[in-house]
Amino acid sequence: MKFKNKIKQLSGSWYFLLTVILVYALFSILNKELYLSSIGFFNQIIYKIIPIFILVFILMTLSNYFITPKVVIKHLKDKGIKKWFFVIVGGILSSGPIYMWYPLLADLKKKGLSYGLIACFLYNRAIKIPLLPLMIVYFSWQYIFVLIIVMIFVSIVQGILINKLMEVKNENSNSV
């Protein structure tokens, strides 16, 4: 009974991990060579990223501690061009799961933040400063720099586009 309850409490991530372990167990019986090669490959990745993970978790903890939704939202209320700047910076610095931000952004929408700025904010959340050390393990500095610049530029384009499209949609729905 207790075991059944424990199983029920397992989250999707644990099911996923257990399934993968089960697949490995099957391979260890059916194809030992493949199993050993996979474990070898796994060790290589782990050795490569473990030191970086320590740095990433320190940076994530610091960013979670200092850059709270309250701090970010305070600056999203600025006006004009400054607003775009703070939306981009806010998106980049924001942390935590994305769904946590939806109610806060919906609240800001009611207070005048445009759909374009919300889209721009959400796009820039893709740029994760604390994760840069891990990215550097796999990609060059030059690549990361160019990618970030292009993504920031595209986030503004997407914001302007969303503003236009939402205006068109709203006008159409108003005229009906």
Binding site: S13, Y24, L34, S38, Y102, L147, V150, Q158, L165
Partner: protein, 120 residues
């Protein structure tokens, strides 16, 4: 999640031969970025996982355009979060944002790789 994904990536890297990746990714910039974006869009999880998966894809011979589209769509397109986003921020906005993010992931990938080519 991260541990499970690394285990899975290790298994796939050993089981799936390089020739498979070469056959899926045709070296056509647009098609490769489209495939990369599709895979990234339907994937979910921490961006950390996408960096590891993307890095291993590169080492398996997948082109940088496809990997970039994969990385960008992983973090900008949220199919899993779409119901929550639709409910809280509106259906039209959520659909337009995710659709445009998908298209822009291809644009970002092509521009990034072109700019890298010019710079290097």
């Amino acid at each position: 999640m991260i541990l499970g994904t690394i285990l899975l990536i290790s298994l796939i890297s050993v089981v799936v031969p390089k020739s498979f990746y070469i056959s899926v990714f045709s070296k056509n910039s647009f098609l490769d970025s489209l495939v990369g974006s599709l895979i990234g869009s339907i994937s979910a999880g921490s961006p950390m996982v996408s960096y590891i998966a993307g890095g291993e894809m590169l080492s398996q011979g997948v082109g940088l355009i496809a990997v970039t589209a994969f990385l960008v769509s992983w973090v900008t397109v949220g199919l899993i979060q779409l119901p929550a986003e639709s409910t809280i921020l509106g259906k039209k906005f959520a659909l337009l944002r995710n659709l445009s993010a998908f298209i822009f992931s291809i644009v970002v990938a092509i521009i990034t790789v072109l700019l890298l080519g010019v710079l290097s």
